[in-house]
Subunit: 97 residues, 2 copies
Amino acid sequence: MKLLDEDTTIDMAELFKIFGDSTRIKIINILLDKELCVCEIADLVSATQSAVSHQLRILKQAKLVKYRKEGACIYYSLSDDHVRKIFELGCEHINEK
Amino acid sequence: MKLLDEDTTIDMAELFKIFGDSTRIKIINILLDKELCVCEIADLVSATQSAVSHQLRILKQAKLVKYRKEGACIYYSLSDDHVRKIFELGCEHINEK
DNA sequence: TAAATATATGAATATCTGTTCATATATTTA
DNA sequence: TAAATATATGAACAGATATTCATATATTTA
């Protein structure tokens, strides 16, 4: 692994920054299993609808989650397997302490 | 993967938060290859000695780096292979965009 | 169409975080 | 021993960030 250029370094930091918040970790955690709509997520992570919506926007902008609309509901799910792998590796690290 | 408890969730977020800063990413990046002393690190990441020292303290507290003393110099290196794996997985994710 | 439900978003605020600056400590060298 | 070098650290400050609150938009239901 050689030295990353400045842009890649910043992108890496931005990526991990998104995993670096417990509300977002909770959201990713529950989305590991299945897709869920915003109010279900808010309920499961014990946060307000507004807080969850703000965090989903961040996850969406970073392309860590995707969504589909069904009537008045919007269902969110993890974008790809990378998100899952990063989450699981972090989890392993914590559990081995 | 089942639902993490509150403490584990917070620990996960704290872990990723540490990777979520470009100065620390640069430090981890150069430590992938070999151990280095503080002033070498400061030079390689283009930051002041003080800034690097503060960041090394954070990395040290999280046990992501270890160090050994040799005379007036203190050599830092990555704690374990987990740090490397998390870094590389993040890097993969960025490169596949 | 009016009310209810689901979601998004801008502004305000409080908290957190990274850097800088000054300085302290420890070690080496002249 | 005095000066130089290597590192750490506390305080201050500026910038970033997460939540809350109020409200807007869209969809469904009565």
